[in-house]
């Protein structure tokens, strides 16, 4: 089981109150996790990654196990603790005021 923590606005959009849990067969990467997330919640398509390029949106970052994984390749394996569900995969919005 993969645990995903979404920023508040995306939780509202996906109509979830807490962590999202998904089951994933095969390698656990940013891409496979986000593919599975978007398959479960199609409303999130385009909100985390660009529709066409699948690049991370500029004001979002990915964290796990106290590491910034934003610049890792999309098909690089995520930490084992994420793959086992011990640690969540965090989608974090950049802080900004206003």
């Amino acid at each position: 089981m993969i645990r995903i923590v979404l920023p508040a606005h995306l939780r509202t959009l996906a109509q979830v109150n807490d962590e999202v849990h998904i089951d994933l067969a095969g390698q656990v990467t940013q891409q496979s996790v986000l593919d599975a997330l978007e398959a479960r919640y199609p409303v999130l398509r385009g909100t985390i990654r660009d529709h066409v390029t699948h690049r991370r949106r500029p004001f979002l970052r990915f964290f796990a196990c106290a590491e910034d994984l934003s610049h890792e390749l999309p098909d690089s394996p995520l930490p084992e603790a994420v793959a086992t569900g011990a640690e969540p995969f965090l989608v974090v919005g950049a802080m900004a005021g206003g």
Partner: protein, 379 residues
């Protein structure tokens, strides 16, 4: 008795204000989509309970929301706005080529006849259409593919397609406007387009006959006379009597002809409203006085409408999509400010009163005039 529904988009959510035909008491619903920028909402003329909303965020991109019950409940629709083919480039601020990049939907214009057909004007400027209730979107590439597209350059607010006017007398004709490319018209349902900017004069464009490059802020028409168009340009209020083939200035005695919105009275095709703003450097009303100006002569002769509007210490702006007129017998006129007030007049502008005072900055105001409610639900 008829009802009126006001759709207000703000920097931090959408609000729906409803009243009966007297327009004395208003119910306020919202914020819907709290915390998100709602650039625009608009209801379908063919099914007033079908409303489309553009929900955007610098973090999370574009969402399109759809309501089938007059704004009580909403569902997210399709948000994939993908340019047709290889997008190519337009001009960047420094004159260099810049790839076309989708940023947001500025304006939604539902079809006059089909609730499932809706047009979207987007930044970077392009026109999209959905024929399945906003589930999927297809670009009308003839506009961006017009020969001038690679010369279009954004204004300070971005390269946004903000105005979409559907000709009620000719389903194949449509007018659009882009900041800062200008106005365009199609006569074949969107397949091909021609610029309609003859007669516009813009400081900073050295060529007085430039085909594109004009910063059009808004165009309005009366549905009974679709060949007559009124335009609020960056500077200048303009009029065309030949569907945009040529324009002439009708700024007349306005205190300043800079501004954003322009609107036409529901029953008087020559009664036009603008809201003068000091200048392109000072985006607030002259002398701290919030004044709507009305012309009953199709331009040139303007009168200040001040009753009920603040006449001192007012430094708000009114954005291009933030003025609307209802079609009740005594025409109601509405506008929203960047200070969060929504003002209404139930007598064509003679008197004004705030409906709400403390919303987030208002980005857009649209009004729906609804038929009398039948028992069991909205008509």
């Amino acid at each position: 008795m008829s009802e009126v529904r006001l759709l207000v988009g703000t920097r931090k959510g959408a609000f729906v204000l409803t009243s009966d035909g007297k327009r004395e008491r208003w119910d306020v619903s919202g914020p819907h989509f709290g915390g998100w920028e709602i650039y625009h909402l608009k209801g379908s003329p063919a099914d007033p309970n079908r409303i489309y909303a553009s929900q955007t965020s610098g973090w999370f991109g574009q969402i399109i929301q759809r309501s089938n019950d007059g704004g009580k409940t909403w569902e997210a629709a399709g948000n994939a706005f993908v340019y047709d083919g290889t997008p190519g480039t337009h001009q960047w601020y420094d004159g260099t080529p810049h790839p076309w990049e989708f940023k947001r939907v500025w304006h939604l214009e539902p079809s006059l006849t089909d609730p499932d057909t809706v047009y979207a004007g987007v930044e970077d400027a392009a026109l999209f259409r959905s024929t399945d209730g906003a589930r999927t979107w297809q670009e009308l590439p003839g506009l961006r593919g017009h020969g001038s597209g690679r010369f279009w350059q954004p204004g300070a607010g971005g390269l946004g397609l903000h105005t979409i006017l559907l000709d009620p007398a000719n389903p194949s004709r449509m007018f659009i406007a882009i900041s800062a490319a200008g106005a365009f018209r199609t006569d074949d349902g969107g397949a091909t387009w021609q610029p309609i900017n003859r007669g516009l004069r813009s400081e900073g464009i050295p060529n007085p006959t430039a085909e594109v490059g004009h910063c059009v802020h808004r165009i309005a028409m009366h549905r009974s006379r679709p060949n007559v168009l009124f335009m609020q340009k960056h500077w200048d209020v303009m009029r065309s009597d030949d569907a945009g083939e040529s324009w002439h200035e009708v700024s007349g005695n306005l205190p300043t002809d800079f501004g954003f919105p322009i609107e036409v009275h529901a029953h008087e095709p020559d009664t036009v409203y603008v809201l003068p703003i000091t200048s392109d450097s000072l985006h607030y009303p002259p002398d701290g006085k919030l004044r709507v100006y009305r012309s009953r002569t199709g331009g040139n002769e303007w009168e200040a409408l001040t009753n009920g509007l603040p006449q001192h210490d007012c430094y708000v702006n009114v954005l291009r999509d933030a003025m609307a007129a209802d079609s009740l017998e005594s025409c109601g006129v509405y506008f929203g400010t960047t200070g969060g007030q929504v003002y209404a007049s139930t007598n064509g502008g003679d008197n004004w009163a705030p409906l709400v005072r403390d919303l987030p900055a208002v980005l857009s105001v649209e009004v729906q005039t609804l038929p009398p409610r039948r028992s069991g639900g909205a008509a």
